[in-house]
Structures are given as C-alpha cells and as structure tokens.
C-alpha cells in the first residue's frame, strides 16, 4: 500500500560548487516502505544529493522534502524523521560501543527508559550486544558499519539515508546488511541507499535512480528501466546436437536478430513478448531440435547501468 505523500521527494534539486554542477535538476520520489537504490559512478552527485537530504548541505536551486518537510525551511522536522549513515565512519576516541550509541540517543533527545529501550533494540537488531563494551577504534569494518547503522536508527527514524553501506564489507557482512535493510523496509521505513555493488542493490531495491554527472538518467524499478533501455529481449538456447543447423534455421527467420554462437549456446534477440518465446520453443521442438535449455537472458542491474551511463565523471 503506497501513501499519497512521498517520504522522500527531490524537486528539481540542484547543487553547484562554483562552476561544477554536482547535482543538476534531479527529481524523484520514494514512498513509505520502499528501498530506493541510488546508482552512479564516483563523482556522479549521489553523496551530494544525500547530504542535502540529510540537512548537511543546502541546494542551490530546487528543494528536497522528507515526509513533506523541506530540508531548507524545516531542517529540525526533517532531522527527527531521518537517520543518515555517511560513507565515512565518524568515531570518537576513548568511547565504547554502548557509550557511542548512548551519546547519540541522548543527542536525539531520548531520556530514561525510552533511551534504554532504544539502545537495547538497536543492539539486538545490529547484533552488537556482545561488543557492547568494546572500544569502537578496535572494531572491524563490518562491525563499524553495523554500529553506524545502529546510530542512524537509534531515534527510530522513518527515513534512512545510507551512503555506500556495503563498501568494504565481506560477502557475509554484505548479506547480513542486505537482510537488515529489507527488514527495516518491511517495518515501514523508507530507505535511500547508494552502492557500487549493483548486484546487491538489484536484489534489495524496489526502485533505482541512475545518476551521472549530476543528472538523473533513469528512475523506476529495474524492470521498468530495462524496458526503457533494452528494446530487444535476449534469448539463449542449448541443444544436444545439430548446433550448426539450429544457427542456420534461426538465422533464416526475419523476426530474430543477432543470432550467434556463444560456446555451446546459441543466443539471439527479438522485440516481441514472452508468448513469442513460448511459440518459438514449440516450433523448435517440432523441428526435432533436442532443446536442453531455453530461456530469456535477464539484464542485470549492471547491464542496465552500463547501458544508461557513459562512464563520464565531472
């Protein structure tokens, strides 16, 4: 169920640094419970947009809203609703995990039993309970990321902005983080997450936005962007024998393009829908081809990203 009011909304957001247009007229909306992946090469403007959303920077033009409140005009209201996890981990000397979280809980105005409850909940959620008394300088990267996520959600915000949360994590930690994010989204939190690990984002995001050189190039679900960027569907076929005949037979058809052999597979593309593929499979079997494998090649988020962006940086 999607609420009428977006939890995150960028309206023609622009942020210039002298002559550099770090973010240039970016607009999109994210609704309650959605996970939005923000993708782009280094220097594309992801972190700048996120900093504006987190009320750490001010837009040159346009506005950004969190739960209907402008980050420029009502930063105090935005801050109550927002948890921000930057790409750089901020640490204090001579502070352990509990003291660190306790400090931020106090800084968000949590007092007494409410603060203790929040601490307990966050420690359980991020599985930091066993590390409660450990100095934060001695934590591993994965533990620090968990702590950082815990800090961002200590005041139970409805919106989370996570800038490269999976950077530098090992596969297990990445999987755990992905599960945590999905769990938070299931609890109704709206999450804007940026990452370079596109396979991770493809699996956890409901929507993605692709940004390059400060401009938003595409926005929507991965399937929607695929449809926008890949007009043709790609199909791969494996047969047990008569490979050459298959290639010839497919090559003679006008409704198929780019027929080529890739190892033991034959790949081709078409611009029809799935029913066309079902009909084609039936015909192949009727033609006595021993089809061992037949399937659409889905375009991964990497493919979509590469198709949409041009690899330019500012």
């Amino acid at each position: 169920m999607i609420d009428a009011r977006p939890m995150i909304e960028l309206r023609g957001l622009s942020r210039y640094f002298d002559t550099t247009r770090a973010v240039d007229d970016v607009s999109f909306a994210v609704y309650r419970g959605e996970v939005f992946g923000y993708i782009g090469p280094n220097g594309a403007g992801k972190t700048t947009s996120m900093r504006v959303l987190a009320t750490l920077d001010i837009p040159t033009w346009g506005d950004a809203l969190v739960d209907g409140f402008s980050v420029v005009d009502d930063p105090d209201r935005v801050r109550r609703r927002l948890g921000y996890m930057p790409d750089a981990f901020g640490t204090y000397a001579n502070v352990n995990v509990t003291d660190y979280l306790d400090f931020f809980a106090r800084a968000y105005g949590l007092v007494g039993a409410e603060r203790l409850r929040a601490l307990r909940h966050v420690m359980e959620f991020t599985q930091l309970k066993l590390l409660a008394d450990k100095p934060i300088n001695g934590l591993s990267k994965g533990m620090k990321q968990r702590l950082c996520l815990g800090r961002a959600m200590i005041h139970d915000p409805t919106v989370l902005i996570l800038d490269e949360p999976a950077a530098g994590l090992d596969p297990r930690a990445r999987i755990e983080l992905r599960e945590m994010i999905r769990k938070l989204a299931a609890e109704g939190k709206t999450i804007l997450v940026s990452s370079h690990i596109l396979s991770e984002l493809g699996e956890m995001c409901d929507k993605v936005g692709i940004i390059e050189q400060g401009k938003l190039l595409a926005v929507g679900s991965v399937a929607e962007i695929q449809a926008q960027t890949h007009a043709y569907r790609a199909v791969k076929v494996r047969v047990l024998d008569r490979l050459v005949q298959l290639i010839e037979w497919l090559g003679q058809r006008d409704d198929l393009q780019e027929v080529r052999q890739v190892g033991e597979l034959v790949t081709f593309s078409h611009h029809h829908d799935r029913s066309f593929e079902a009909e084609l499979l039936r015909t192949l079997i009727e033609q006595q081809f021993a089809v061992a494998e037949f399937g659409s090649q889905t375009h991964s988020l990497e493919d979509v990203f590469l198709r949409v962006t041009e690899g330019r940086v500012q």
Partner: protein, 552 residues
C-alpha cells in the same frame, strides 16, 4: 509465634530495605538529574576520564604542587613561623594552576571541536536534535568541569597558603574567580576559532595560532599575578577595585555572549537566523558600555575629552561590527521570514535586527546616531543637574557642544561612507563569486587602509606638504581628521568645508545603498507551509495561534 532472633532478623531486613530504598531513591534521583545534562558534557566527561592526556596533566599538576610546597617551604625556611609566607607560595601554586587553565583546557576545547570535523563526527552531531548552542555550551561545560577538577586538586594547597598568612580569603577567592572565568573565556575564544575552518590546512594554521596565543596568555597571567600580589593590599577594602571588577565583568559577560553566539552561529544551518541573536548581544554590550560611561561623563563633565573618547569608541565599535554585518548574505530564508515582526510597531523597532547586510548597515549607523543623541542629552542633563544640586547656575556647556556636534557629524559620515562603499564593493563581488565573511571584512579593512594610507603617503612624499601638518588632503583619513576635531586645541580651518562635503558624500553613498536596503526592509512575515501547520496542530492541539506580544 516468632522468636526474638527471627524478630531481629525481620527488623534488620526492614532497616536494610529502608536503607536500600533510600539509596535507590538517591540513585534514581541522580539518574534523573543526569538525564538533564548536556549530552556532550556527559560524553566528554566519559572521554576525559579515560584519556591519557587528562590523567597525565592531572598527575603533573599534583606533582608540581608537591614539589613547589617543599621548595617554597625550604626557601622560606625557619622564618615561616613568624613571617607571612602565604603570598610567595600562593604565586607558585597559582602559576602551576594557571598552566592547565590557560593552555591545556582551552586548547583541549579547541581540539575537541576541530576533531569533530577531522573525525567526521560533526556531520553526525549536527543532524541530531542538539542545537548549535547546545553543542558549544556542552563543550564549554566540559571545559568548566575540567577547571573545577584542577581547582579542587590545588584547593588544599591554596588553603595551606591562607594558613601561612599574608593573603586573605577574599583575595584568594577573587584570584580564583578571575582564573575560572579567564579559562572559560579563553575556551570560548578557542571554540570560536575552531569553527572558522573545516579544512585541514586551515586547522593546522589555527592550531599554531591558538597554541602561541595561549602561551602568551599564560605569560600574561604570570605577569598579572606577580604584579597583583606585589601591591600587597586587601581587595575587600578597595571600592575602586570592585567597581573595576564590576565593569570588567560586564565587558566579559557581554563579550563572552557575543563569542558564544558567534561560535554557535558558525555551526548553525544556513537557512536559520544567525544574525538576530548576535545583534541583540552587540546592542546589550553597547548599552552596557554607555551605561558604564555615564559615570565618568557625569563625574568629569567639564572635560571635553571624555565625550570625544566615548563617541570615537562607539564609532570604532560599530564600524567593527558593521564590517561583519554588512558582509552577511542578502538572502532571508523562508524559515526566517516566518518569524519576522509583522505589526507596525514591531517592524518599526525590530526590522534592524533582521538578518541581511542592509539591516546591519542601518543597525550600525542607527546605534552610532543614538550615541550622539545620548551624549547630547548627557550634556544638557549634566548642566541642568549641576544647577539643581549646587544651586548655582552652571554655564551651558557651549564649548563642549560646539566640539561634540562637528565630531559626531564627521564620525557618522565616515561610518556611512566606509561601511556603505564596502557594502557596495561586496555586493559587486557577489555577482561573480561567493564572498566569505572574512573576505568581506578584509575588503572593508583594505578600503579603510587605502583611504588612510594613500593621503598620508602623498602628503609625506610631497615636499610642499611635508611639514604643513593637517591639510585638506587628509579628508579621506578618518583617524587624523577625527583626532584633529576631537583632540586638537583648535578646530581645523577646513572644518566648515568638511561639514558640507562629508555629509553630502555620506548621503550619496547611502542613496547608492538604498535600493538594496529598501528591498530588505520590505520583507514581511510569511505563512508557514501547510504541512508544518498540520503537524503543529497535531502536536499542540489546544494552543491557538494568538499574538503573544504587541510586537508580533
């Protein structure tokens, strides 16, 4: 049936429960009190208790006190029994105490804030619900607590000096209070300096400046305490000392407020109102200065100099503050506009407090003009009161009046011209590049320096004018011109011409600024967005939107 043993056991259990109940209540009370502390104070206290630097300094201070005790007593020798040796030992202890108070604690405060930027924690801190003032006051609270810890460490030694005679409790208390507030003031200055830049190179340069400055302050404290103790008098009996202390405290409190608010303003989000609190603090400092100056004015009203001195200090003060106010960005955010005064009376009186270079320009000029009026009133009232008190007709102070008004006209004209031209230059620069506060202030200083230095260089490098003294050439040099009018035995011959040229130029500069000033004055209160109204209504359902004061 209960045995005696059982009864005793039950009774002792009850007592234990009651006692544990009392402890529990105390514990709960302490916990509740702890909740009210500034989170930064709590965190920094925890950090300090675990830090090696604090432990080392604390142990060194204690060790130094012990060493000085033995050394001091061995210097005094057997005469300690009949001679007043308290002063000598007090100076030693105070110097030991002064080092952490003037160097370590302020520098720790500086590092504490600059490290927030280096360690990427400032961003995390600034998006919490803590206000910038809470951040600064938390850091200051931590500094104050460290001062108290060091004071309590040295307290037994200080008490010991009292027993050795030669120094009274009032003097010890006054010196320690000076030390406490001095350390806090230095910490506030260091916190302000830490907000000036977030760039690595700038912070390194600032660190060096801060360390050098703090060591100089330490040397000054060393000189001060030696001098103060050498006077060898009882401060409690000296009324002039207390008047001086009260005046100093007024200056300290208002300057502290300005530095505190300036540091908080530097940490405040761009769309917030950073100017109004600072302008209020400036006004309070200015009014307190005028109030303190009333005493010498009334006491020495026959002297011309006091009026000229007060007026020149006021002019310099508002020029200094004006350089900063006229460098503000000419943008008033919608957030700020929601709280602008809206009634006619409110707009009349409080528009000068609105953020923006135009309002700041008017604020500086208006306050200087007000000083001119107040001083004129003081002249009139002073003459009248002396007539009432002494019963003799005091002559109307025509010579003073005749000197004050030309000085006032020239001073205000210079203020309007220099601030106005600086403001126009900054506005022009803003078309091409953002102008940082320090660049703007630097621009004002360059303008003033050029206006002063160029005629001086021309005059002293021209054979014809070299030895002719003050001349018309110096019209752009405010220092010499004002000194000539306010200080000289006779008015400069060019004065009538100055009284026409300078106000006319000032008027033209003001006119050139007027368009943008008028634009700022037209800002009116705007309605908050519907989303905010909706949430406010949900949070405070019973509070209706009413005017809370006639100024609303």
């Amino acid at each position: 049936m209960t045995t005696v043993g059982q009864a005793i056991a039950v009774e002792s259990d009850a007592v234990a429960t009651a006692e544990s109940g009392r402890w529990q209540r105390l514990d709960e009370w302490l916990a509740r009190t702890g909740e009210r502390f500034n989170p930064i104070l709590v965190k920094e206290t925890r950090q300090a208790l675990k830090s090696r630097q604090f432990l080392l300094t604390f142990v060194l201070v204690l060790a130094a006190c012990w060493i000085w005790t033995f050394l001091g007593l061995s210097i005094v020798g057997p005469s300690v029994a009949y001679q007043a040796a308290g002063t000598v030992l007090f100076i030693g202890y105070f110097v030991i105490l002064a080092f952490p108070l003037t160097v370590i604690i302020p520098y720790t405060a500086f590092r504490s804030l600059s490290a927030e930027s280096e360690e990427n924690t400032f961003d995390l801190l600034s998006i919490t619900t803590l206000s910038p003032r809470q951040i600064v006051s938390g850091k200051l609270g931590s500094a104050a607590m460290q001062v108290l810890v060091y004071l309590s460490a040295v307290a037994p030694c200080l008490a010991f000096t009292y027993l050795l005679r030669g120094i009274d409790v009032v003097t010890i208390s006054v010196v320690l209070l000076y030390a406490f507030f001095g350390s806090l003031g230095l910490s506030a200055c260091c916190l302000f300096l830490a907000t000036l830049t977030r760039e690595k190179f700038g912070q390194i340069v600032l660190s060096v400046v801060v360390i050098v400055g703090l060591f100089l302050a330490f040397l000054m404290v060393f000189g001060f305490i030696s001098e103060f103790m050498s006077w060898n008098y009882l401060v409690a009996a000296d009324s002039d000392f207390w008047i001086f202390t009260a005046a100093l405290f007024t200056w300290y409190a208002t300057t502290f407020a300005i530095i505190f608010l300036a540091a908080a303003a530097r940490l405040t989000f761009e769309s917030e109102n950073r100017s109004t609190p600072l302008r209020v603090a400036m006004l309070v400092q200015y009014l307190s200065f005028i109030a303190w100056m009333a005493w010498p004015i009334l006491a020495y009203q026959s002297s011309n100099d006091i009026y000229a001195v007060v007026l020149c200090i006021v002019g310099a003060y508002w020029y200094g503050m004006g350089t900063m106010m006229t460098t503000e960005r000419p943008i008033v955010s919608m957030r700020v506009r929601r709280r602008l005064p809206q009634s006619f009376l409110g707009r009349m009186l409080f528009t000068f407090f609105n953020p923006g270079p135009g309002a700041g320009y008017l604020f500086a000029i208006g306050n200087t003009l007000a000083a001119c009026v107040l001083l004129s009133l003081a002249l009139v009232i002073g003459g009248w009161s002396s007539l009432v008190v002494s019963g003799t007709a005091a002559p109307f102070p025509v010579p003073t009046f005749a000197r004050l008004w030309p000085l006032a006209i020239v001073l205000v004209s210079y203020l309007v011209i220099f601030l106005g031209v600086g403001r126009l230059v900054i506005a022009w620069l803003r078309r091409f590049t953002p102008v940082h506060m320090f660049v703007g202030v630097g621009m004002h200083v360059i303008l003033l320096s050029l206006a002063t230095a160029v005629p001086l260089v021309v005059q002293f490098s021209t054979y014809q004018f070299y030895s002719s003294g003050y001349s018309m050439l110096q019209i752009s040099n405010p220092f010499w011109t004002l000194a000539e009018i306010g200080d000289g035995p006779t008015m400069p011959l060019e004065l009538p011409l100055f009284l026409i040229m300078l106000p006319t130029t000032a008027f033209l500069v003001f006119l050139a600024n007027w368009k943008s000033i008028a634009g700022e004055l037209r800002h009116v209160r705007v309605v908050p967005p519907a989303r905010l109204v909706e949430e406010e209504a949900a949070e405070h359902p019973t509070v209706a939107a009413v005017r809370t004061s006639p100024w609303d």
